[in-house]
Symmetry: C2
Subunit: 305 residues, 2 copies
Amino acid sequence: MTVIALSGSDGPDLRALMAETAIELGQMLDRLLPKPVGDEARLFEAMRYASLNGGKRLRPFLVINSAKLFGVAADAALRVAAAIECVHCYSLVHDDLPAMDDDATRRGKPTVHVQFDEATAILAGDALLTLAFEILSSTETHADPQIRCNLVSAMAKAAGARGMVGGQMLDMIAAEAEFDIGGVTRLQRLKTGEMFAVACEAGAILGRGDMARHQALHAYAHDMGLAFQIADDLLDVEGREEEAGKRLGKDDAAGKGTFVAALGTERARAQALMLADQAVRHLEPFDGRADNLRRVAHYVVRRRA
Amino acid sequence: MTVIALSGSDGPDLRALMAETAIELGQMLDRLLPKPVGDEARLFEAMRYASLNGGKRLRPFLVINSAKLFGVAADAALRVAAAIECVHCYSLVHDDLPAMDDDATRRGKPTVHVQFDEATAILAGDALLTLAFEILSSTETHADPQIRCNLVSAMAKAAGARGMVGGQMLDMIAAEAEFDIGGVTRLQRLKTGEMFAVACEAGAILGRGDMARHQALHAYAHDMGLAFQIADDLLDVEGREEEAGKRLGKDDAAGKGTFVAALGTERARAQALMLADQAVRHLEPFDGRADNLRRVAHYVVRRRA
């Protein structure tokens, strides 16, 4: 089943490039995560289970390809990519908890609290979030402490109460709040968009990009993130469970304020395509060097999982 | 009831000083925490409930009084103190959750998940932890990005998988693991000691203290932290619930590996006093300027809550 109409092709290249990034990212995470030894090995195993799990690694791909626009050293970009993925994985672990979305499977495998237990899942999430800041503040990530501080600050803002966690709070109350399209847009910008934005801006921070390029990447990430989220909502309604590897239809069941609920399927689909095109246009200052980011924008509205 | 024999007096000064610090710290936290407005106000209210609650503010007191040893600006120390308290409060919110220690009261009030709900408590904890790193990386905390990075790095290590969260994991498995005195000491060093250590070292980081003073404060914090924890174990066995403002006797009921379980009441009491005296001796390089830290060491083994 085609979830969403094609809007340009992402080509076979993108999938191969994303798969390559996913392998490199997994190797970097493996180096950065604590080895599962000692009395508290259970914690380290849960952190590894939560993060070394074959995700798409979309946010790391954004970090690495935005960093390439500024000629950033590959290892620095990969470390920052790993830090962002730690934050993303922590958020999934906590979101899956019984008190939150109560999901038993993710990417076709038992969620962390099912595989381990709830206490271990809470702690593994806490530890992954904390590890992200340890990575970003390390001299191994960048020699310039001003750049490291800027990364920490941008990540903390994107991930915190006025960013991702705030968005998750809105998501929890969406069933009663009955958000209109403005409310849904804000919810999704906080819940998903801010982390996409910091992934793209990390390249500009690492590469000391000027304000204009910074803003271009921010605008790209903003539109791409919304397109991603609308595609997610459409997948939830139309996708097949075996492709997504997780329980579907739950948003509708919980009466949550999604783009599809606010706009209907057809308008949501058109909106996603429009946003993907708009995202691509923000990349003009980078010419052909931003082709991977362009492909990502098309990919996020075409994916099936 | 006297929980522990006196070992020197902390004097009336200390209580007054700690109360003064608690007020200043509360005012700083109030400035740094998000105002409870907007659709996600519930999250901000829970963050405030968790942190503006009349705690002892012992870790902030350590930050501020170690910073004074190096002539650090009061506002910088207070901001770092607020960040450490955010981390401490987040850890209490998550520790109190049903899947963890399952506590319904703290400081005589309903715990966050009881007052709000579990999802809000998880998110409020996540947001407080993230806010701590936002505060530390802010230019308002210190003009020198190297110092800000050192603070972020030290805090992330102390709070993470190889620090506080690792200690909490050990605490969760202590019932089955049956730790000996070495195991209990390691558990408590991770769970409590690392955060005490970073509180004391923050002053040296802010004040660009030399290695010798850094190490002296670390050694002080290490011994004081263990004394604090033994006193906590003794309070759990001997204290009165109405004085502590929380359910007591639970460690014993859960068969957890505490100092009292490992050593017995009398030896544990003697050990706490010995550690407090030892902590004080590490402060010799600072002469009379470290009197407040000396008083703290005596206070932690005398407190009744």
